[in-house]
């Protein structure tokens, strides 16, 4: 297993740095569309730094799970991010696991997040956990099926290999299977990152929350890890979407600094475009009723199944 420690370190830092920036950008752009100046894009950093400096209040009923969960949530998201090619193919930890391990790691984080929500014995945390596990349970098959479509084309579940395959055949970008799978994952992205129309990241109503309800008891450092982990997870899913489906500009293994710079520029541009899409969806939609969310996600599943079918038909 050839680990490139510099590459590994760089991607870790990039993940940690870019993730809050991305959340901040979405928040800032949303504010602009709401006719206000809004926070600056790097506000999320300042928030995390602030939480790291704050003391913590631990709920009395909580067990060791409560202390354990933030680390698992944070680290699993980070590790998943190291399996996705960000600037360079292959990703630093390509061999540690591909798409399946990525989904598995995100699920691991979610598992502990949900336990962390249940631990303090508050009804809100349980509410968040219950909803989160429900939504993710119906989001996961759609995500998997959509990934399968690409994986089958590439003959590999290795994300780097998938990106390489997509890159080598420009035609694939307009392949109907590809487009449908992209749409499916985009819907899953909205659900998994707690965006409108599934969850409202800006809500202050404890009864309607999903993601934040599980964090209600967390404070200080743990909260920072949780929030940071959530933003890394969002970045990972978005990177998956832009770099596996549109690996334009992604540098090769032996790329020089120039190619890497170009790769970074292309990556940033693609991410911003995706952010814009998320912002538009969030601005123009209301949140769905909780029991309409499965309809949305089963639509994603059907899209992914159609992608598969179209592969069957067009090959």
């Amino acid at each position: 297993m050839n680990l490139d420690p510099i590459h590994l370190l760089l991607q870790t830092l990039l993940l940690l740095a870019l993730a809050p920036l991305l959340s901040g950008t979405i928040r800032s752009w949303k504010a602009k569309l709401q006719n206000r100046r809004g926070p600056r894009p790097w506000q999320a950093f300042l928030d995390i730094a602030k939480f790291l400096r704050k003391d913590m209040v631990i709920p009395e009923h909580a067990s060791w799970i409560f202390h354990f969960a933030p680390y698992v949530v944070f680290l699993s998201a980070l590790l998943a991010g190291l399996m996705v090619p960000m600037l360079r193919i292959p990703a630093p930890l390509s061999l540690f696991g591909g798409a399946l391990a990525l989904v598995g790691l995100l699920a691991l984080g979610r598992f502990f997040l949900a336990l962390g929500g249940l631990d303090p014995a508050s009804a809100f945390g349980g509410m968040g956990s219950s909803r989160e596990m429900t939504v993710s349970a119906i989001a996961e098959p759609a995500l998997m099926l959509a990934i399968f479509t690409v994986a089958i084309t590439a003959g590999s579940t290795d994300l780097s290999q998938m990106a390489r395959t997509t890159q080598s055949t420009a035609f694939n970008l307009l392949n109907p299977a590809h487009v449908l799978a992209f749409a499916a994952i985009f819907i899953v992205l909205l659900a998994e990152t707690g965006r409108i129309p599934v969850d409202n990241p800006a809500t202050h109503l404890e009864l309607t929350m999903i993601h934040e309800a599980m964090l209600l008891e967390y404070s200080g450092r743990y909260l920072a890890y949780m929030e940071w982990g959530a933003s890394v997870k969002q970045l990972v899913l978005m990177t998956l979407l832009v770099n596996v489906f549109f690996p334009v500009g992604l540098a090769g293994a032996d790329a020089g600094p120039l190619a890497l710079a170009f790769s970074l520029a292309a990556y940033a541009a693609k991410l911003l475009a995706l952010c814009a899409a998320v912002v538009v969806v969030e601005t123009t939609n209301a949140k769905l009723r909780l029991f309409r969310v499965p309809d949305l996600l089963s639509a994603a599943f059907v899209l992914a199944a159609l992608a598969l079918l179209s592969m069957f038909l067009f090959r």
């Binding site: 504010a31 602009k32 569309l33 709401q34 006719n35 206000r36 100046r37 809004g38 926070p39 600056r40 506000q43 300042l46 928030d47 730094a49 602030k50 400096r53 704050k54 003391d55 913590m56 209040v57 809500t203 202050h204 109503l205 404890e206 929350m209 934040e212 964090l215 209600l216 008891e217 967390y218 404070s219 200080g220 909260l223 538009v280 601005t283 123009t284």
Partner: protein, 291 residues
């Protein structure tokens, strides 16, 4: 979808420039009253007209200590109607760090008819009100209100602040204006300030209302649930000084009777600019021109 985006884009950004620009307040707005202390002939009509006791006086030994407590003032202007020496201004930024600085007072020599004869120069004794018992220490052994904590909070909250609003008995007037801070016009988020759902996430408690007996425990528990360092801003005449309700069988009066308060924001209810000013003052940012 395009309709929504079109409307948003055509409306543009409507956020005020405050605090870089002065607050936009109508000239007719009633802000803090100003008393022309030298020309004030008689405190009695104004004190009688004041519904909350913000204007009061004490006569002793041929002297009168007249006292104006901004914290209790509801900006109704009845005193200005009653006394020409009092004038309502439209100044709304009145937040203060300590309770005493909201009180202004003067000593007069008394005439035979009970009117003032002349102003006695020098600072008047402010603490005419019986000292309130200090707020009981709330659970946390770590809490020591000292310079260290102050500096720590200055370091921490300068760029990011999370607020938990607690209505401890207000009439909902303050809540309307506080909710207005989230509107695109005042947009408190541009300062990196958010309102949050859980006190665990909060750095600041924004407390309104005369604390009712029924909310006393809830307020204490909220304070307790907030991790240190934390600060408390008392909002409104009721929160700062008890307001028109004062202390009675059902209320404990001002917020600082229950938990320690760092900044007082007078007003009934305070103008959103005043609230912004108070919140920014609490995190030492009120002087920053650019945000």
């Amino acid at each position: 979808m395009f309709g929504i985006l079109g409307k948003s884009l055509s409306t543009g950004i409507v956020t005020t420039k405050y605090p870089a620009a002065p607050p936009k307040v109508s000239i007719r707005a009633r802000g803090r009253p100003e008393i022309d202390w030298t020309q004030w002939k008689d405190a009695r009509p104004a004190a009688a007209a004041c519904p909350t006791g913000a204007i009061s006086f004490q006569d002793a030994g041929g002297h009168r200590t007249a006292r104006f407590d901004l914290a209790q003032c509801i900006f109704c202007g009845l005193c200005a109607d009653a006394d020409p020496a009092i004038r309502m201004t439209n100044r709304v930024e009145c937040a203060a760090r300590d309770r005493a600085s909201l009180i202004s007072a003067a000593r007069y020599k008394l005439g035979d008819d009970g009117a003032h004869r002349q102003l006695v120069p020098g600072p008047a004794p402010v603490a005419t009100e019986p000292a309130r018992p200090p707020a009981p220490a709330v659970s946390s052994p770590l809490e020591s209100i000292g310079r260290q904590i102050q500096q720590r909070s200055r370091l921490i909250f300068g760029r990011s602040l999370h607020i938990r609003e607690v209505d401890a008995g207000s009439c909902n007037g303050c809540e309307i204006e506080i909710a207005g801070l989230n509107s695109p016009v005042y947009d408190i988020e541009r300062f990196g300030i958010h309102f949050v759902a859980s006190p665990r996430h909060a750095d600041m408690l924004l407390v309104t209302g005369p604390v009712t007996r029924n909310m006393e425990l809830a307020l204490r528990k909220t304070y307790d649930a907030t991790p240190e360092p934390r600060c408390v801003v008392a909002v409104g005449a009721c929160g700062c000084g008890g307001g028109i309700f004062g202390v009675n069988y059902a209320t404990r009066g001002p917020v600082d009777a229950v938990i320690p308060v760092d900044v007082y924001v007078p007003g009934c209810p305070p103008n959103p600019h005043a609230l912004l000013h108070g919140i920014l003052r609490a995190i030492h940012r009120e002087q920053w021109g650019r945000i």
